[in-house]
């Protein structure tokens, strides 16, 4: 997480941009000479197949940059079917690539932080691909819930409260399943007492047991 005072001063020259939830920030096939920095909220990256299937490789949390391909030499148009959409209301900064490169040259230590983000991104992507290829709807829903618990979770005694008002529609869009299928799997997890609801929020009642379900 880049949170140095130098970076804060660098950011101040740009105007923050707000997006409502479910707004597209980068459209499929769109190229950009800028990188986005997430100041508040969460952004979902999706890949859309020609047949209309959706896959969410990653959710970008506050203090991260997207798109990750920018960190390599690639262009977004090389991966035409990627899109970036706000999962919650978000506040982002759109930084021209050249200006960020200049900043990084002057602050080389912060390059390590970007590399760390890229490593986490790659690890998450591999885990998601493995689940997507080798697992079923039940496991995809568990993976989505574990992701949300990691990003939005607050520990309350033994449970984790996912502190945003996620619906079955949202989990369907994250896991690439239909809402009906998600509801069925969520009910199954509820019957096993692995998840529940508390004050408008989904709860993960025992994260270790839920993780263990991925192995079943």
């Amino acid at each position: 997480m880049i949170n140095s005072s130098a970076f804060e001063a660098f950011l101040r020259q740009f105007k923050p941009i707000l997006y409502r939830r479910k707004e597209r920030i980068i459209l499929p096939g769109e190229d950009t000479d800028s990188i986005f920095y997430v100041a508040q909220g969460h952004v979902k990256q999706s890949i859309l197949s020609p047949s209309g299937n959706q896959f969410t490789p990653y959710i970008f949390a506050p203090s991260t940059f997207f798109p990750q391909i920018w960190l390599e030499k690639g262009k977004l148009s090389d991966i035409a079917d990627h899109e970036y959409e706000s999962l919650t209301p978000v506040e982002v900064y759109k930084i021209p690539k050249e200006q960020l490169l200049e900043y990084l040259k002057e602050n080389p230590n912060e390059v390590f932080i970007l590399h760390e983000q890229l490593t986490v991104y790659s690890a998450e992507l591999l885990k998601k691909l493995e689940t997507r290829v080798f697992s079923d709807a039940y496991h995809l829903v568990i993976l989505a819930l574990l992701d949300l618990a990691r990003l939005f979770g607050k520990k309350e005694e033994k449970i984790i409260l996912i502190e945003y008002w996620f619906t079955h529609h949202d989990i369907a869009s994250i896991s690439g399943l239909s809402r009906e299928v998600v509801t069925k799997q969520m009910n199954k997890l509820g019957e096993k007492k692995l998840i529940g609801y508390k004050n408008h929020f989904i709860t993960v009642n025992n994260p270790e047991l839920l993780k263990a379900e991925l192995e079943t």
Binding site: P16, L18, R20, R21, Q40, G41, P89, E91, E163, Y164, W165, F166, T167, H168, H169, Y197, N199, H200, F201, I202
Partner: protein, 125 residues
Amino acid sequence: MKNSKKILIIEDEADILELLVDKFISEKFKVLQSTSAEKGIQLALENKPDFILLDIILLKMDGITMLKKLRQNPWGKNVPVIILSNVTDQTKVSEAMRLGVYDYIIKTNLVLNDLVKQVKEVTNF
């Protein structure tokens, strides 16, 4: 009406308030309404609605201050809130996001059917 969801609308522009109230009543919601944040917070804590629509600019206490007070309450800290804003309220919307909101709407872009769909989704999970 036994299982209908309860929504609280706090908006000081009479025509917008009327529009929202009529729409949510026609969609079988139980509707509570207020033109001020002071009465709004009182209605919220007494009636514990399933959802709150909150105008960001209000006379006396503004929407941000009300949201802060709401989030300090054990019940109010988790209630889903949509902020109603104007194009020029970007800084206030950003501040509201820090306090935790489900979404925000710019009033000039308001599409009633989309709003109802959104509220139904989040109150019926």
